[in-house]
Symmetry: C2
């Protein structure tokens, strides 16, 4: 401010009026003071008859909305006020009245104490009438530094990143490092092109490089050129997902869907003949199950494979336009063969859905006679994958091309299978492919890890708004921002351990386990991919305009993984399967109680939990209790059981009243979704708690404990309507939980940046200029 701008000379002549300057400044500087409020101040000033008439007139003239001070004059007042207020003690500095009086005192040779008292009285009256939050107002009037807890929050790392990262990688550390080494090579730099075909070729090239490194056939038996290591296959999928998601899906179609269908549905003759070529990508292939008219209800597909006795061959045929194979990855351009699911017809008898290897193209990529393929074109994401639609027009394939592990046609043309029911056989076949429902959520989890790494690091650096006259504050210090991102971080950690558990269960599977593993995979796939979709949406919004620019990759992460909630089983449909499985799981546990007998059992079980609903527990707001894993586990388990038994009761009630069972299930469909998710949530929490308990490193254990508590309480808060409705908690407790969550968010925020660093995502993969350039 230049020296030539000064307050009115009248103040110099009547220095006691300086006392009113802070009040006048506030009246004009405040952007929201209404004219009614200004009128109120004028009225109060008019009553100060101890002031001389001309003094009063002077002040009033400075309170006239028709004749406001000039912007320049206002600025001069602030200079004047700050000169004084900066010299005051912190306490006096917080009061407009004190600042004004000091201003008057310092400008007066010998202070008139009586007038000062009067002034104090009137100023206090005005301040109260205005209702100005006086400490906020006073902050405007000084240039001194202001400390706020919000501004001061910053990263306070309390654990060793490498220790936690090693814990996350677990047994897979080596393969993860090996994959990262490959995808960090210069050739894996992201391709900036809008050209679909260029992008697709690049993705194919990348897949070839991965195959050359032995990653493609990792899960196949060593006898057929594979690595014999299913565990590593999952880690490869997960790690590749830090890179381009089209690459992951192209990789998954070739080596997972196509290759595993041969591995699990075929027999030795297929393994010998095809697996080496699949694993090396010498034979690019597809997995052709879904049809336009049959996606979720895949049992209803209409493509036929008709056995021809005379030639011992099968004729693959698409009976009508909408029975074509749809969305088939690798089909539009590269695929030379497909595992085709079709209804096997022998002598006009339908033997249900079976799988056949059908050649699509010659090595020059020309489609073979009878095969029509149309490109699915551009998609919301995954545009590096060439999806297509396939129609078959009486395509004949040799007998050996039937994948015959579970069913075959004998030399005399008889259908033969160790599994009597077509239904059960088909679901057994699908069951062998459940690995896809493990690979996909693990891939999605890597995507949300990338999204969180970007959003959290950006939130830690990006500053916006702040205390008046102070530096702006990192947006991650704001409660709304913490509330958006910290629970997502906690849930991501929770799902990491949940998916690890699922993987271990799958790797150690036995026939008896399969029903449970399938339910767990379906449930975790849904729960986890919804988390990815919702979480990446939140990350996009949390990064504002920067999150909308493609260079920062959140759009790609979001759009590429968006279909994860649809493929490998639509999430809504899967959650209903989980629920139905939960009902029959209970049947298995109590084999001499029938389906509706067990309802009584569950209901009894639920009733015994009433002890948890005693008046003390439902109102317990003790911090130790709220943070106790035992409380969380009980709450999750109670909800799971109660929802399951009430679903069973509702279905039974409808059927007892004569409702068709199909309608009864439809009436309870939404309820069934919660049966599925309550089950998954309980499993995930149990695994997270178990992980915390077996963690030895104290730093890691402490931060995992916080994350686990945050995960548990956030889920409970999300379902607080249910808990309150069912009397498991009272309002006083759910409100206390909200406060605990706020505190946990603030605590986790301080470790948030190291927590995303523990994902050890290569910089070249993260690649978002908003965070990587600044690192």
């Amino acid at each position: 401010m230049k020296d030539d701008i000064l307050v009115s000379p009248y103040f110099e002549k009547n220095p006691s009026l300086y006392a009113f300057l802070p009040m006048l400044y506030m009246v004009w500087a405040d952007a929201v003071l209404t004219s009614a409020e200004i009128a109120k101040v004028r009225e109060l000033m008019d009553e100060q008859d101890w002031l001389q008439a001309d003094e009063r007139a002077f002040i009033l003239s400075h309170l006239d909305p028709q004749n406001p001070p000039s912007p320049r004059e206002l600025k001069s007042w602030l200079v004047e006020i700050r000169r004084i207020s900066d010299q005051l003690s912190p306490k006096m500095r917080n009061s407009l009245v004190d600042i004004g009086l000091k201003l008057a005192e310092l400008n007066t040779a010998d202070g008139d104490s009586v007038a000062l008292d009067k002034t104090r009285e009137s100023l206090t009256q005005i301040e109260q009438a205005l209702g100005v939050i006086s400490n906020e107002a006073a902050y405007h009037l000084r240039s001194a530094h202001r400390e706020t807890a919000t501004s001061n929050q910053t990263t306070e790392q309390t654990f060793d990143v490498e220790t936690l990262a090693d814990l996350l990688d677990g047994k897979d550390k080596e393969i993860i490092a090996a994959v990262k080494a490959v995808i960090s090579q210069p050739d894996f730099a992201y391709l900036e092109t809008d050209n679909l075909s260029e992008y697709r070729e690049k993705v194919l090239d990348w897949c070839k490089t991965l195959a050359e490194n032995g990653f493609g056939g990792m899960a196949y038996p060593e006898a057929y050129g594979g690595g014999g290591d299913m565990r590593s296959y999952f880690s490869i999928m997960e790690t590749l997902s830090y890179h381009d998601l089209s690459l992951v899906i192209k990789f998954g179609v070739q080596f997972g869907l196509f290759g595993m269908s041969i591995h699990f549905l075929g027999t030795q003759k297929h393994h010998v003949k095809y697996l080496p070529a699949v694993g090396s990508l010498a034979l690019p292939g597809c997995f052709a199950m879904t049809e336009t008219h049959h996606g979720s209800n895949v049992k209803g597909i209409e493509t036929t494979a008709t056995y021809d006795h005379s030639t011992r061959s099968f004729v693959i045929h698409t009976p009508h336009e909408a029975a074509c194979k749809e969305y088939i990855g690798n089909a539009a351009v590269h695929g030379e063969m497909a595992t085709v699911f079709a209804k096997l017809m022998i002598d006009e008898v339908d033997y249900g859905v079976n799988a056949f290897l059908v050649p699509l193209r010659d090595p020059q990529k020309q489609t073979l006679p009878g095969v029509k393929i149309v490109d699915c074109g551009r998609k919301m994401g995954l545009n590096g994958v060439d999806n297509g639609r396939i129609w078959f027009d009486q395509v004949s394939i040799p007998y050996e091309n039937m994948l015959d592990r579970f069913a075959s046609v004998s030399e005399d043309g008889q259908f033969d299978s160790p599994i009597t029911s077509d239904n059960r056989r088909f679901f057994t076949m699908l069951g062998t492919l459940v690995g896809g429902r493990i690979g996909i959520p693990r891939s999605g989890l890597s995507a949300i890890k990338s999204g969180l790494a970007i959003a959290i690091k950006y939130g830690d650096q990006r500053r916006q708004f702040g205390p008046e006259n102070e530096a702006e504050v990192p947006i991650l210090n704001y409660r709304t921002h913490q509330r958006r991102l910290m629970p997502l971080l906690a849930k991501t950690y929770a799902l990491h351990f949940g998916l690890q558990y699922l993987t271990e269960r799958f790797l150690a599977r036995t026939d008896d386990d399969m029903q449970e593993i399938e339910a767990l995979a379906a449930g975790l796939k849904s729960f986890s991919t919804w988390h990815t979709t919702q979480g990446l949406q939140e990350c996009r919004e949390a990064c504002g305009g920067k999150g909308y620019l493609s260079e920062n990759r959140i759009d790609r992460l979001k759009n590429d993984t968006d279909v994860y909630t649809t493929f490998e089983g639509d999430n809504t449909v899967l959650m209903q399967l989980v629920a139905k499985s939960r009902l029959s799981e209970f049947k298995k546990e109590f084999s001499d109680i029938n389906l509706f007998g067990i309802i009584g059992y569950i209901a009894d079980q639920a009733k015994t939990s009433v002890t948890e609903r005693n008046p003390i527990t439902v109102r317990n707001t003790n911090k130790e209790h709220l943070l106790d894993f035992e409380f969380h586990l009980s709450a999750f388990r109670y909800r799971e059981k109660e929802i399951l038994s009430s679903a069973a009761r509702r279905i039974k009630h409808h059927i007892d009243e004569g409702m068709d069972s199909f309608d009864a299930f439809n009436q309870t469909q939404n309820h069934m979704l919660t049966v599925g998710s309550a089950y998954v949530e309980r499993v995930v929490l149990e695994q997270f708690v178990a992980q915390v308990e077996r963690t030895n490193d104290q730093g890691a254990k402490a931060v995992l404990t916080q994350l686990c508590q945050l995960f548990a309480l956030t889920q409970i808060e999300k379902h607080k309507g249910w808990y309150l409705e069912n009397g498991y908690m009272e309002g006083i407790k759910t409100k206390a939980i909200r406060r605990e969550i706020n505190e946990l968010c603030a605590e986790v925020r301080e470790n948030a940046v190291p927590l995303v660093e523990a994902f050890r995502i290569p910089d070249s993969c993260l690649a978002a200029p908003i965070v990587v350039n600044k690192a």
Copy 2:
């Protein structure tokens, strides 16, 4: 089934054993029967000592998991069973026991009634032990048609589409029809290109066509070549949004942001000189406010406009790299001039943010000296708009280029403004531009209307799953699908009327209204654009794989509108502004009560509402009560008041305890978000109810009533945790609300297709093959 497949000849010889055939079929056909259950059946069979030893052995041999029947044999059983069960009365057909007995009876010359009784007894015992849902099981055993309520639901239109469509269009019917006529022309066919530059040129061409039709300058005064019709401007934005969203934003940048800044912030000399050229698109321009380091906190922008006394000019300058103008639409390629917001500096005094017209390019599109522009590149969406970053290096512009409605520099170089405070002046300037916060949510609402039209029509046609042996069911008949889409449809209608109301308030605005209108616009913009984002996500998932294909447009709708939650004010920041405004609104209403005085007042008000919390009301599950608008309005209003007063109390409490006010607001930030949304929800409901009440057409009134009830109850259900926490409802009531919502969803489903037809979206705009081709 060919005749050569037959049941075992043993049955022919021992026809009474036919009675066990249905049970045997179920054992093997059921895909989930466990081996423990099969063992249980064997055990029970073994106890049937009234059977002859060889008969028992025969049955047991058919219950041996080591030696299951062949798939072919199983099929023969079904043929045999169906032949009988189809002849039975509906009641008998529902029991496995009855079917079995009838089978035995018909195959026996003279029935042995004693054995039949025994058989009935043992079969009943087995059926109970298995816990088979017998009517479901029986459905498998007959080929007759099965009627279910779920299958039968279909469109039952109860209102006239054109009447409702006219009601939605209201006063704007003509301009809406005029815009639709233009965007339905062949030249407006969507461009299928991956090439950014081609897309951007096409969008520019489209904008020129719109300008030629007089839509561009619609809101400008007629004296300057405009249409003098702000109302129509909003309807143009809304209607264009059925077409490409890039077009809408390009249109909005040019004619809205750029043109309106000249219109509202400039004076006559600017209007004369520029508005005709802006309206005709002869002068393409930008609105350059946001900077890389200052987006939400736009008051903090750092670009300077330094007044040069000697030449009476301003020097526009970007002080550092990250102070560049960011995301500026029309900047990367087409813009020739920009309204640039910069801090005005005169003699080293900062007079806050003001607006200046700065030339960027010559008509040959060469950037002018001192101007550096970099393309923002590809974005998540809106890729037909050329966004760019702009840096200014000491760019001198003539004095006349200051938009000087609210501030100017006098001939002697003095700053002059009728508004004293820099802050207040800046927010007054922004206030004139609030129209953008009306245009954007209206545009977003059109996008979700398109998404719902696609998802609902698809859901009505798409069939998947169904009762066993029956036609598949339209997925819109499933409760989960109805629960996903019907509340979105209701909320979309609610917001249509809410945004109409906002528009009317804006068009009739006075100075006194402005604070309320700004809060309403900020709140509705946030609430509505979040609805668009979340709703389109739901539509994408609800259309499964088809929703992922770009040809069906949901990806574009979602990605293009995704940034609506960010631009024109980040939603989270805006909701906090709304909340702060709500606090001060109360100040205005009670001008002699200060901020904390009014807290007591609100608290009292809230307490008087306690009458609503009497034991009868909180447990009232009467249908009439639950569907009553008075109940909905009371619940919304109670929540709004209670949340507002508790937020004020919390802030005061923190400050009283000595917390810095900045920290106090941060602590209550999440609470403040709900203050904002509770306010918006109440306004939207009030407007929807008012609309229902003034609707004369009975068909339209009835369906709007259902939609309004569904909207109200869905919001209450969403907040049931809060209502239960605060004792406004008990669990019995929230559960009853859930049931009402289920019923309303089923009712609205029957009108759902006509309800989206009432949006009258041109087929050429909707353009999704999954629905349009089939129409």
